[in-house]
Symmetry: C2
Subunit: 189 residues, 2 copies
């Protein structure tokens, strides 16, 4: 998606360790019109696919997900990052290692909001190692629901998570596929 | 706003200690069409007011805020809950006691995304003690920007935070003003 790639080239910043900061429009400050355009692209990519629910992870996936949910007219559920070790029986849970922060988050979704009849689209801002998508897919599977695929804003292709998930049979769409990053340049597929 | 009040009456649940759970459509599962209608109401309430930026706090304010930002065509910045004690010089920060969780969160916004020329609308899902709005207003003031007011989805009027802020000169609009709650009923202003 050209619009997103251009914004990344213009406003994204590369930090040591393969970190791409897009705080200006996607992760801290949000550009609502861009989010809406991104959501339109997801709607186009998944047109013809029956979707009954969208799942994302707090916090930075929420804005993108709600725009997709609005256009598709389906509810959005955001998985919460769980703080305590005690996981209630009333939730589905999965462990998600964070590449950026070097820790492990447990994400949870209330059993009330995921049903075996659901056809779920996963939404997230970034795809790197794929850990967040694997965690969300696990929640969907625990509910006996079907994961129809994923849509992410930015895929860091060189970290392989997307390709591993595709090889595993998951449909993964990314709006901007970053193939290489250096201090002064971001390259796209 | 009738639509929101009806949803609260139908799907909200009251827990001991004055907790109103609206996980079904506002805090965990999100109803995008309802969010859009709520945002239209905020746009109507603040029509004629110049607004250059919207501030909210992660995570549950983000969906509402991005819809308002989309309709008003202004950027949205979500304040992050800061984990460590070390606050960088590059952010504005404020301490926000949480009524629900009984702890204190430090919220931060990068100095890059709040400027003295900004006219800021604060958005949040809940208003109870007013601590989150006070914290966000502090961020705005630290930047030398102007806080034009706040819009919240649900105000728990009996906790007085809204009235204290209004008495202090802040414009505070709530879409559903809960005056009383019991196990089997939620009453509105």
């Amino acid at each position: 998606m050209k619009l997103l790639e251009e914004r990344i080239k213009k406003e994204g910043r590369v930090y040591p360790g393969g970190i791409l900061k897009v705080d200006m429009f996607l992760n801290h400050q949000l550009d609502p019109k861009l989010m809406h355009s991104m959501a339109e692209e997801v709607q186009r990519l998944y047109s013809g696919t029956e979707i009954t629910k969208i799942i994302t992870v707090e916090a930075s996936g929420i804005a993108f997900a709600i725009m997709v949910g609005y256009l598709m007219d389906v509810p959005v559920v955001f998985a919460k990052k769980h703080k305590s070790k005690n996981i209630s029986d009333s939730v589905y849970s999965a462990e998600v290692p964070s590449y950026t922060h070097g820790n492990i988050n447990t994400i949870v979704v209330s059993k009330e909001y995921l049903h075996s009849s659901d056809r779920v689209l996963l939404i997230d801002d970034f795809l790197a190692t794929g850990a967040a998508l694997v965690g969300m897919r696990s929640l969907v599977r625990q509910a006996g629901a079907e994961c129809v695929g994923a849509a992410v804003a930015i895929e860091k292709v060189f970290q392989q998570g997307g390709n591993i998930l595709r090889a595993d049979g998951m449909r993964v769409e990314s709006l901007a596929a970053v193939t290489a990053m250096s201090d002064d340049e971001v390259s796209f597929d």
